[in-house]
Amino acid sequence: MRTFSVLIRKEFLQLKRNPFMPKLIIMFPIMIMLIMPLIMTMDVRNVNVAVVDLDNSTASRRIASHIDASEYLSLAAVTAEYSEAMNALEEGDADIIVQIPSDFERETAIGGNKRISITANAVNATKGGLGMQYLVQTIARALAEIKGERSPAGITELVTVKNSYNPTLNYRHYMIPALMIMLFILVCGFLPALSIVGEKENGSIEQINVTPLSRFTFTLSKLVPYWLIGMFVLTVAMTVAWLVYGLAPAGSVGLIYFGAALFILVISGFSLMIANFSDTLQQTMFVMFFFIMMFMLMSGLLTPVDSMPDWAQKITYFLPPRYFIDILRSVYLKGTTLADMWQNFTALGVFAAIFNVLATVTYKKQK
């Protein structure tokens, strides 16, 4: 026990004396939580629409004014020439062209089938796709309004949409849990590995290896400090999310800490294992980056697992962040309880056990 506490004390002493690390551990979560949610948004705003109005009627002007009034769309130009609008699209001044055919108002009044055509610049697929959807909705609303004025029966809404759990469909609320996980991966995934490889590089690991210290105690002494740091990072991140974005977990805070406790063990154990197989800092960093890319891009942090190809979805079962992002998002946004998510917690527990046993076994005091 005395040996262990001395080992832990030594880790913290080294960390404290590092001119850079303590600042990093405090500043990193704050910066990420302050800046990233502001820029990482999939909400598409300011889609510029050019209207080619060949009809020049009340209806066509109504459509244009609806577009102008939309929160997401802005009216870039109204012209009578398609080529002019096309020029605007090519110049980048417009993202989408709406062409209202001549005699549109009259034809719709008698039930004809004149159609509005929409041309979108799909270079930015998200902007094109989402912008198109917004536009269709806006035009439908304008048309419904026109029809409603004609038939006194009033407006009949055809579709109603209600977003449960994240009522405003705030992309930020969706991304904040993902950012927290990225913080864990970066802080608790890199620091333990760097600590071991640092000892390899300055030779002190040889001095440790000639002592009777067991590899279990040594591995544990590398895990515990970063586990505590991870908990600290979580607290900072949650506080920022609450104070700055008003996002407090809908479910239990304790459950979030429990999930994080398991997840940090998983990622730190993994990190120690990589360090055991590396001799230099460069080697560790490079291998860790490879896995971190997989963790970040394939675990549903940024893009939903459900929209991945089948084979990729199968791979995600082997990526621990997949289970934790599920937990964090559900508890944060839906208020899910342990009973609903026990499979995910079990999965994390199993990963934590496997990685840490491997980290202990692959640490060789004798080569």
């Binding site: 001395v6 080294q14 002190s204 002592t211 080569k367």
Partner: protein, 299 residues
């Protein structure tokens, strides 16, 4: 019982035979030196004995424990000081010492009498970080840490490399005192002049041991007559001397050349032949360990 017994131990790195069938025995309480140039396999032998690497073949035992089967027991009775400073540079002198005491499950007080003569010299700097110490002080701290658990056997891998002449002498005096306390010491050095401070030495080269004896025994093994020669043009002298009759070997040795004579050598004839060299001078000299080393290496 011998404190260290090594029997035909070998270790290769790829094609390089770092240690090639080395055998040696060190008695309890002996100060034993491994003398040899860089790349002789000294460090590999230390790492084998300190149980940091496993041998390819052969066996060795320390204080009666086998280095492969009983490596666990060995770790608590061996002190190892690697050639490169490998304590924690960001911990202070005192913290380093306490840390290693804790790893061996002892307290600094328990071993203070053993460590004190060395540690006292660096105690004024106990709050200084180990990385900021001078070379000599680093060595003293490393030695203190290696002694903290009262090891039976102490391994010192080139402890005086990169240390100034005064500190080197002090260091050897410290080893002498540790030896008097009954600690078996295996020390390596590339400096031949330090060999005379050991009880016995082994001359190593390219993974093999060329000879084991006391320093005097090694020197006495050099049976050929040895001369030191000098002239104004040293290089031409070396070239000519190598061609001369009765000369077994001639090599630069400090300010003069050492000339190893064989049975056909005639001093008077040699003097006559070399009289033409400006400032020519020849005198018989006592062989040193280095002369013996060169002789053994060429065999």
């Amino acid at each position: 019982m011998n404190a260290i017994e090594v029997r035909k131990i070998s270790k290769s790195y790829g094609k390089l035979k770092a240690v090639n069938e080395v055998s040696l025995e060190v008695q309890e309480g002996e100060l034993f030196g491994l003398i040899g140039p860089d790349g002789a396999g000294k460090t590999t032998l230390f790492r084998l004995l300190a149980t940091l690497i496993a041998p390819d073949s052969g066996s060795a035992s320390l204080a009666g424990y086998d280095i492969v089967k009983e490596y666990h027991a060995i770790r608590s009775c061996v002190g190892y000081m690697p050639g490169r400073f490998s304590l924690y540079p960001d911990l202070t002198v005192e913290e380093n010492l306490n840390f290693f005491a804790a790893l061996f499950n002892v307290t600094v007080e328990e071993s203070y009498d053993l460590v004190a003569p060395i540690y006292k010299q660096i105690e004024p700097f106990r709050e200084r970080r180990a990385g900021k110490l001078s070379g000599g002080m680093k060595q003293k701290l490393a030695l203190s840490c290696a002694l903290i658990h009262r090891p039976k056997v102490l391994f010192l891998d080139e402890p005086t490399t990169g240390v100034d002449a005064v500190s080197r002498k002090e260091f050897w005096d410290m080893l002498q005192r540790l030896k008097e306390k009954g600690i078996t010491i295996l020390v390596s050095t590339p400096y031949m002049d330090e060999a005379s401070r050991c009880d016995r030495i082994a001359l190593c080269n390219e993974g093999r041991i060329l000879g084991i004896d006391t320093p005097t025994g090694i020197v006495n093994g050099f049976r050929s007559p040895l001369y030191g020669i000098k002239a104004k043009n040293m290089f031409a002298l070396l070239e000519e001397a190598r061609k001369a009759r009765g000369v077994e070997d001639c090599y630069p040795f400090g300010e003069s050349h050492h000339l190893v004579a064989d049975s056909e050598f005639n001093l008077d004839n040699f003097k006559k032949d070399f009289d033409g060299f400006e400032g020519f001078f020849i005198e018989p000299v006592e062989p040193t360990i280095e002369d013996m080393f060169i002789k053994l290496m060429k065999q």
